[in-house]
Subunit: 207 residues, 4 copies
Amino acid sequence: MISATETAKDPPAKQPRTERGRRTRQKLIDAAAVEFGEKGFHEASIIGITGRAGTALGSFYTYFDSKDEIFRSLVKELGDMVKTRAAAALEPEQSALEAERAALHEFLEFSREHKEIYRIIDESEFVDPQGYRHHYERTARRIMERLAHGVAAGDLRSDVGEVEAWAIMGMNVFLGLRFSIWAEDADPIGIADTANALLKAGISAHS
Amino acid sequence: MISATETAKDPPAKQPRTERGRRTRQKLIDAAAVEFGEKGFHEASIIGITGRAGTALGSFYTYFDSKDEIFRSLVKELGDMVKTRAAAALEPEQSALEAERAALHEFLEFSREHKEIYRIIDESEFVDPQGYRHHYERTARRIMERLAHGVAAGDLRSDVGEVEAWAIMGMNVFLGLRFSIWAEDADPIGIADTANALLKAGISAHS
Amino acid sequence: MISATETAKDPPAKQPRTERGRRTRQKLIDAAAVEFGEKGFHEASIIGITGRAGTALGSFYTYFDSKDEIFRSLVKELGDMVKTRAAAALEPEQSALEAERAALHEFLEFSREHKEIYRIIDESEFVDPQGYRHHYERTARRIMERLAHGVAAGDLRSDVGEVEAWAIMGMNVFLGLRFSIWAEDADPIGIADTANALLKAGISAHS
Amino acid sequence: MISATETAKDPPAKQPRTERGRRTRQKLIDAAAVEFGEKGFHEASIIGITGRAGTALGSFYTYFDSKDEIFRSLVKELGDMVKTRAAAALEPEQSALEAERAALHEFLEFSREHKEIYRIIDESEFVDPQGYRHHYERTARRIMERLAHGVAAGDLRSDVGEVEAWAIMGMNVFLGLRFSIWAEDADPIGIADTANALLKAGISAHS
DNA sequence: GATGAATGAGGATTCATTCAT
DNA sequence: TATGAATGAATCCTCATTCAT
């Protein structure tokens, strides 16, 4: 149902062969994150990227085949960062609900540090549809795995599954949009607690 | 879920004076929905739109000032449709939870009929950022109003508020993405029921 | 052996729909002949072509999809011109040898008027290999047909065929290069007579 | 037919000092023959050449000043090869016609072994126009000298001269194109015989 | 109103050549 | 000598928009 593996073949790409090359490539990726985050894919320009990176225009093509390719690299890198950050926030003995609270909290913090992530992931729907879909499917899968653990541990209702995973992901994404990107007018911990209360017992008065 | 976005000042636009003109204009709007939905804003072209509409390139500018303008018109039109549909699905005597279930169910059905809506609303983030933000803020506000009703009626916990509204909107949007746009491998009624159970009592085993 | 037909499908191309458009297109073709003849394909530029044609850069793309395409159109046009001119020079009652003399003479004259033809046909070997091959194969075929007539009429030896056709074409092309393109230091009529004497009786002293 | 083109001043070029260097240089020349023959001058790239040669990009400039220079070196090398081959095919006591037959036959064989020669010589028209012209003028001169010998020996008509030399060169080049490069569907000996019969007595039935 | 030709700013991309290691 | 990263000039092509008919 949900694709089971990371894309088999990362494009072989032009991998730098020296340390100096590796550094230049990274400068370009970082610059691209800023440029794309600020202007969006279509308004962004290679000149803008290399300008920010402090390299010559041509150097871009030493490391990337095209504007599309660096964008895709960026989407993947951001996805990896989210995954890493989320994983780091989890602790072995946590209950399923505590894990979701920690994951959301971490995501809210991460989004505040990397505001560009929303525009880049959102725009990947048009620039790199496969990467876009992959991003959300892998994220949903991670949530499902956590939920499955919770079910196995007896923390969660036994019928909890994919629908709940996508619902949780949607909650998280929109809470990030509202409280990390558009305004920081509420404490991430409070948001995470509130959302967690919803998950724990719903919103009904007579639970 | 996805509602009309009225940009502050609706420029009076070039209104057709004759019936023939009105028909030509509508043909262009319909063609634009297909073109934008299929290709996204930037890949779409005026030629593509007029080609589908069966009019000459120049005729486009008889009715619209720019590519941006027809895009915004389209967003507005789609928003109006959803608004109408959503309103029709609600019933006066419904409880707050029943209203949310009905709203989600209707949205899932609508999304299946108008798959282009996701791409168009999503892309408005880049084409008409103000409209994009406005769209979600107003939708969240509408949900908040329903929740407030529920609180007043004693159906919902008294601390339910903005965070829950955004969480619900996020759930709905992502459930639509997964189960209406990407695949129709589950029954909208079942999805709506499952999501509603989450809202009602959470996912914990010991509620 | 030698392909029997003109290429089935001339690319549909962007045909002008008005008289004005037809004129603009022709201005571009004429300008391209000069530009390509002067600079060669790779040094030539679209700006150079539109500059000579007196049109805007973008107008080029109203009529041609690419630099390659106009080049190919040109190769074809030149090939057609050669064919037309050669045909016009032939007369019904001519003997085979007289026909060859007339064809060579006409070609020498034509080459003097259209010196760009050599560079363009020659460069088509690299830009439009199919067109290049097609050009010489169709020319050889025409010569073969004339020779076959001559054989049938009893003017020529009965074993005359494809080898002789290619030999004659080669003679003509190189005589044109030497006496029409590089220098006009001899009279086309004299050249044609001399070459025709070779065809008639060879160069041996004891024929 | 295709002979060495010595551009007025052979720049001393970067001669390798060591045996290892000499070998690297030769690897580059060989690789260039393949690359240019396959892609033509403009489509060929230095990276393509060094890739085939198995050297680093930068090493190219240790041995050649530019892409043009290696191209010219290649033309010269090919020319030297043909010159050697042609000379070896001629014999002292041959009649003028026999010499032409032997020269054509040898050229047809050589072209089959070195199909790249056509593309490289042809493209020199654009890359090294002086060399191109020089090449054919010198080849024509060589044929003229052979013809002059034949006239002196009484083998050939006394009015045979430059026109016939260019005609013969053209025949040979186009027979090579047709029967060595494009297809090998006929025996070089047969071709040479047929062409020689034309030279000997023409194509007329009543010679 | 309808038509389609004309316009030109704007940007991605290539690749020969230079240079630091 | 060998290596491969860095450079940037050069140009093709797109397409929204304007305009003449």
